[in-house]
């Protein structure tokens, strides 16, 4: 359907809008297992949720400030890294967001079925 160049740009804009909130949910779900910034970026990309580094790094600190993730410096290896882990509060939020995602999915499915 999307043949024209302008349409590609339009699609990219709307896809970005659609995916915006999913980054937070994906981070909270993935950080059930503690990880550091670059590794999380890598995991997200490989999972098919490519995020820009300059979006993810500030986001992690914001989530930490909001108490949704906790952090610890791991200085055992040669390169010290800051590891993030989803907090209880973060897990609760992730569960709520997941429920909402499922509901949206159901609604959209029924809309597609109705048309």
């Amino acid at each position: 359907m999307w043949h024209v160049h302008d349409d590609d740009e339009l699609l990219a804009t709307h896809l970005q809008e659609l995916r915006r909130g999913t980054v937070v949910l994906a981070c909270l779900l993935m950080l059930e297992r503690p990880d550091y910034g670059y590794a999380l970026l890598d995991r997200l990309t490989r999972a098919g949720l490519a995020v820009d580094a300059n979006t993810l790094y500030p986001l992690l600190r914001r989530l930490e400030k909001q108490g949704l993730v906790t952090s610890d410096w791991n200085t055992e290896e040669s390169r010290p890294r800051k590891f993030y882990r989803t907090s209880d509060r973060g897990a609760a939020l992730a569960a709520a967001l997941s429920r909402d995602w499922d509901e949206l999915d159901t609604v959209l499915r029924s809309l597609k079925g109705a048309s």
Binding site: G37, A53, Y57, P58, K65, R81, K82
Partner: protein, 343 residues
């Protein structure tokens, strides 16, 4: 190719540029309270360590995939983008001057200020220049200059004020979530209330009575007066010049036209020609009055002498007439614009 030494400084320069844009950072000319915190709790040091580790990890990742180290570093920093933007992300700082929460309040206040103050200043300056007897070119030039300067100041300071609110309020409500919701909730109560037809009709009646009374008094003034000359004939309070030139009749005609416009506004549907004609007629009267007062053609010198009024009385009356006329012009223009925008 670049040597490792210079590529090292590329990351150093990037990290330094990010830190420079962080509030409270040592390199941004820090605040005292941040200085006194232990090193490992200072956010800028934490960000620096983490950012350096992230860049090094990303460079290693590219090198492992077979890239040249210098090229890898260049590519990683290019991906991270403008250091100021990244720092704004870390500091959760808005990347806009005035956000959606304040934008409507900003435009409303700015419009109200521009629509009222700029014409008022322009009229005032034009008047002063006119009274001083400045040439037409000077008068127009100075008036335009004053209007433009006033508008520039209003825009500049209002914008600065709202940009400051945006930044302070953003910090108070802690971040992006707080910034997106408007400060005040809008309810339908805020809709402008149209004045009832009855109230407007009352105004119309009052206006009619006042205008008729005014015209009658002006027309009768040569024959009804507190002062009389040596032959016992009354001395009119208004300048005889007005009658000699027939100007007074033109003025009364304008007043009548004003009344007609008031009735047309009440009964006819709003339209652009009616609105423009109405505003022109409304400002014609005060402009004429202004011109008369500025040239001292309102009061009869014979009358003020006979009544033994001080010279300053004439000056004060003329000044008062000028101010009232100017305000009337300003309000007529504002009312015209307000009616037009309400369509």
């Amino acid at each position: 190719m670049t040597t490792p030494a210079t590529t090292d400084t590329l990351t150093d320069r990037y990290v330094a540029a990010v830190l420079r844009h962080l509030p409270g950072s040592r390199r941004s000319g820090s605040r005292r309270s941040e200085e006194q915190r232990p090193e490992d709790q200072r956010p800028d040091i934490d960000i620096e360590r983490e950012l350096r580790a992230s860049i090094a990890d990303a460079v290693d990742g590219r090198v492992d995939a077979g890239a040249d180290r210098a090229e890898a570093e260049f590519a990683v920093l290019t991906e991270l983008g403008d250091p100021a933007r990244l720092a704004a992300g870390y500091a959760d700082r808005p990347l806009q001057l005035i956000g959606p929460a304040l934008y409507l309040d900003y435009t409303r206040l700015l419009t109200a200020l521009l629509v009222t103050i700029v014409p008022a200043v322009a009229v005032a300056v034009g008047l002063v220049q006119g009274l001083r007897g400045a040439g037409a070119l000077d008068l127009v030039g100075d008036t335009l200059d004053a209007a433009l300067t006033t508008a520039a100041h209003l825009v500049c300071w209002t914008t600065l004020l709202f940009a400051a609110i945006e930044r302070v309020a953003g910090r108070v409500t802690a971040g992006a979530a707080g910034r997106r919701t408007p400060a005040r909730r809008w309810t339908p109560d805020a809709l402008p209330e149209p004045p009832t037809r009855r109230a407007r009709y009352g105004e119309l009646i009052f206006y009619t009575v006042a205008m008729v009374l005014f015209a009658t008094l002006v027309l009768l003034s040569p024959v009804i007066s507190t002062e009389t000359d040596a032959h016992g004939a009354p001395i009119g309070v208004f300048a005889p010049w007005l009658w000699q030139t027939g100007f007074v009749y033109a003025f009364i005609a304008l007043v009548t036209l004003n009344l007609a416009v008031a009735y047309a506004k009440h009964y006819a549907r709003w339209s652009v020609p009616l609105a423009v004609a109405g505003t022109l007629v409304e400002i014609a009267c005060p402009i004429a009055l202004l011109w008369l007062a500025a040239g001292d053609r309102v009061l009869n010198p014979g009358f003020t002498q006979a009544a033994a009024w001080p010279q300053s009385a004439t000056t004060w009356i003329n000044t008062a007439l000028i101010v009232v006329s100017a305000l009337t012009i300003v309000f007529a223009v504002i009312d015209g614009i307000a009616r037009a925008t309400r369509r």
